[in-house]
Subunit: 249 residues, 2 copies
């Protein structure tokens, strides 16, 4: 008999799930594979109520956290993984196939990070805006003739892969060695840094105001490609605050 | 982008599935992972009709084969894999954890075999009788606090694992080398052999008649542990037919 899988510090985030049966199925897959932390971003209130009150709904569904949008749901996460297929759009961030995901997640677990695995709404998946908060896009290798998976099944397959191949956080001594490289920074601090840098670009008249949204999007994704530590983020933040103060002075 | 998974000669068999949504989900997972051969054994007629006529039901659901029981559904299969958890019963056949299944399936693919992956009814899973036709019991490693998976999700997880790790049948030359060891025997011929051996044991007064059912069950499983080739099965069959003829003569 196989040992039961160990939990890893992972948050499952459902963005605007529509079908209560899918929400229930996602929660059940989490329980099957030993994950217990579920967040829901911008749920449709009646569907969400129905899913939570379903007979036999797992405990973790009762305890699920609710957020107005994805930004808040992943604020304290350090590695945010969007899921989906890229059949119909040009991806903007690195894509990793699910069977190759283990080393990335294991590194994040070992350096004390907190991982979010994000699933979009059933119909159209994660938006470009949602994905701009993701470090990577995880793709389940499916048949090109039928690439799009049912939400509950996609959650089950991803969690099976992670529960089977990712080891729990390393023991305290080992972890502190890895952590000497610097704890990974969370999404909220990256957003704060992006905000200050944006103010600097505006103050410095870096580009036309009409470019503001596009610049914000690109900056957000650039910061997520840098793999910053908490310490480095604080340093860079101080640097840009100083510049901002000077520009305004 | 990952290459699409290649198909392997695999039959998905659902035994008495109850929920049309689960049947649909199983079919969808098959399409997602590039499998197209579905069989249903002893389905509940109205649920099965409903599943097949559902809007957007994949093509493979329309083409699914229907059988009165598992025996007929797997008659031409050479490696029959039952799925389920063994929390509440003592297993009688070898158990293999899903992540370790690849080499077994790959060997069967390479030697020209035909694999059946069998899923039981939602409520109680495969019966002892069903399992006696299986060579191995495949277990998805789940949390002991919530071991039982939803049917559609279990199908998705198993097919993901096989589509990701099992290569398609080897090229003709390579395959014929492997096949020189003898093509694997299918379930129908094992059943025929078991029948003749049973007649011999009865003719020879091997054990009391009251043991007949138990002996039949044990013999069925014993024959499945032997990994017989077609040629060896024919030889053994001839041998026992001769004995039977002599005992009766």
């Amino acid at each position: 008999l196989a040992d039961p899988p160990q939990p890893v510090p992972l948050e499952v985030v459902l963005v605007s799930p529509r079908n209560p049966l899918n929400i229930g199925a996602a929660a059940r897959a989490m329980a099957n594979f030993g994950f217990s932390s579920l967040s829901v971003a911008a749920p449709f209130a009646p569907h969400w109520r129905e899913a939570r009150s379903a007979v036999g709904a797992p405990d973790l569904l009762q305890k699920a956290k609710e957020f107005p949008s994805l930004v808040e749901a992943v604020a304290d996460c350090t590695l945010i993984l969007g899921t989906g297929t890229v059949t119909h759009r040009k991806p903007e961030q690195p894509i990793i196939s699910l069977p190759a995901l283990t080393p990335l997640v294991q590194r994040e677990v070992d350096r004390g990070g907190h991982i979010a695995l994000v699933f979009g709404p059933e119909k159209h998946g994660l938006t470009r805006e949602d994905l701009s908060f993701c470090h990577q896009l995880v793709e389940i290798p499916t048949d090109p003739r039928q690439p799009s998976m049912n939400l509950g099944q996609a959650v089950a397959v991803c969690l099976y892969e992670l529960a089977t191949h990712v080891a729990p956080p390393a023991a305290v001594e080992a972890a502190s060695t890895v952590r000497g490289q610097g704890l990974p920074v969370d999404s909220a601090h990256l957003n704060l840094l992006a905000e200050v840098i944006e103010k600097v670009t505006l103050s410095a008249h870096y580009s036309p105001y009409s470019m503001r949204d596009a610049n914000r999007h690109d900056l957000r994704m650039l910061l997520r490609r840098l793999s910053l530590s908490q310490r480095d983020t604080r340093r860079i933040l101080g640097f840009f605050r100083r510049i901002l103060h000077r520009l305004k002075g």
